[in-house]
Symmetry: C2
Subunit: 312 residues, 2 copies
């Protein structure tokens, strides 16, 4: 008789749920809206209710359920407490404690970016690797570090905050974190648009990017279509990202880098151009690392949350 795990990804607009069997198959997934009203006080009760509902609906016995894994957008302590999570309107919240009390099940909690990395390791682009770095290129740049199959949480919950590696200390504009010249300012979707804006303003070289609102997607589309200004922007982005990844590699020396997030929808060309710069900058032994695309998309969080429960 197989056992079951609930994997949950709490986001600012919706909470995603997955019911997994312990071999890793996703049996069913669903989502509910995230109620951030009243400092998000209903989020965990809503999560508990959804789990209890599915538990009853499926007629599962308690001993068949291994536990519940949860990814949240914020730092998480070893004991599953969250000091604050801005997107959920949370101050301090004992996520593991509250859900354990409501459900009577083992609950494990992790930061959403770290949990997504674990998901990609378990069932996605990094399948089979035990040492992995995930780089998520979205509105910001997030990440997750896996060493020997386990998430590196860090002493202050900032393990994997790789978007905040400073590459250009002389950068005038501040990053969201308050520092200057972070990778996030060059390699996130907004960062790429920013690089593009600067490049386009620098001269009047012809480009299909002129005249439209420049997004990271537009830059990659123009790059694929052979636009030479877009190519310069993409090379600049890839130079920054490849160099940052080379620095991370000399810290934990991963077997594989998994690149995800909205920007990664550019696909294989993104891997190719980033790999060129990674190989240029990496310490020789680290050049054996592979660069791959994330494959789980929005489901990485629920997969990783389920895996979190199986970790110990």
């Amino acid at each position: 008789m197989g056992k079951y795990i609930f994997g949950i990804d709490v986001g600012g607009t919706s909470v995603k749920f997955g019911l997994f069997c312990e071999e890793g198959s996703l049996l069913e997934k669903w989502e509910i809206p995230t109620q951030t009203e009243e400092n998000g006080k209903w989020i965990l009760p809503d999560v508990a209710e959804a789990i209890l509902g599915k538990w009853k609906e499926r007629g599962l016995r308690k001993e068949e359920i291994i536990g519940v894994g949860v990814g949240v957008p914020g730092p998480v302590s070893r004991t599953g407490e969250v000091p604050a999570a801005v997107n959920l309107h949370w101050g301090y919240k004992d996520v593991a404690g509250e859900l354990e009390q409501a459900l009577g099940l083992k609950v494990k909690v992790g930061n959403d970016a770290n949990v997504a990395a674990l998901g990609e390791m378990w069932a996605g682009g990094g399948k089979g690797a035990e040492n992995l770095i995930m780089v998520t290129l979205g509105t910001g740049v997030g990440g997750g570090i896996i060493v020997d199959g386990k998430i590196v949480t860090g002493a202050h919950g900032a393990g994997g905050e790789i978007g905040h590696a400073i590459l250009e200390p002389g950068e005038a504009e501040p990053c969201n974190c308050g520092n200057h010249g972070c990778l996030e300012q060059m390699a996130s979707a907004t960062g790429i648009a920013r690089l593009a804006g600067r490049r386009l303003a620098a001269d009047s070289a012809p480009s299909v990017l002129r005249g439209e609102r420049v997004t990271a997607k537009a830059v990659f589309d123009a790059y694929k279509a052979g636009d030479s200004v877009a190519a310069e922007i993409v090379e600049q982005f890839a130079d920054y990202l490849g160099r940052a990844m080379a620095v991370y590699a000399c810290v934990t020396d991963p077997e594989v880098f998994v690149i995800g997030g909205g920007v990664s929808k550019a696909g294989k060309v993104l891997i190719e151009v980033v790999e060129k710069y990674y190989m240029k900058y990496a310490f020789p032994a680290c050049r054996a690392a592979r660069l791959v695309l994330a494959t789980l998309g929005n489901e990485a969080g629920i997969y990783g949350a389920a895996k979190l429960v199986m970790e110990d």
Copy 2:
């Protein structure tokens, strides 16, 4: 009845031995010359003989000995094999296998820089921390990453090769690794001397450093004596090192950085100036990390090697 551990640090000129009790006291230490002749074929037999001699001399019973830990200057596989170690004139060597066969004891092997980091965690500047980054500023810049009390070896034995983080991709001179602009080129003893040479050549500002052979020690001595050119060099070094450490921090988010190696003999002033730049560049949550000096000096290797045996 207490148990015993042998901690061994195999260097290019001498092999250091320590006999520890499991609580961590160093009962006795000694060393023998490293015989690198004939591709270093006598090194491991010499090590085994020295251990067997001490074992007999002390009248230890086999069941009283937990095992033997060994640090070697080169990459080490999970199974204790060394693909090559240039300073020992070794090609492939099954260090764990050879010593286990000769001694009939459990043998654990690690890279010397990583093992030193473990030693500083166990009994040195990082005592009490489970998440630590050691930065060794010697002829080169080495390092060791500890996550949850364990060494991060990496997928290709390059975990902790933090001296090869590229900070100045436009640097014209190559690093020993073949890349350009690695931290090692700015923060090692030779790197600091190099920064000093450049600064002194840039103009004719008066400095006590002029006219003598410029070493890292001379730079720090002049800095302590109030020399303003030396201060510029030290600030430049600290800016690079502090920025590099801030990048490492956003990967594994350590509780403490332990700074060791010959350059660290400059003492407290070194910590103060590096901390200034680390705080400037670090991701906010990572600013809670402490910077401390290594305290075990040349004994970090034997302590860490002993701890390696106790790890599992």
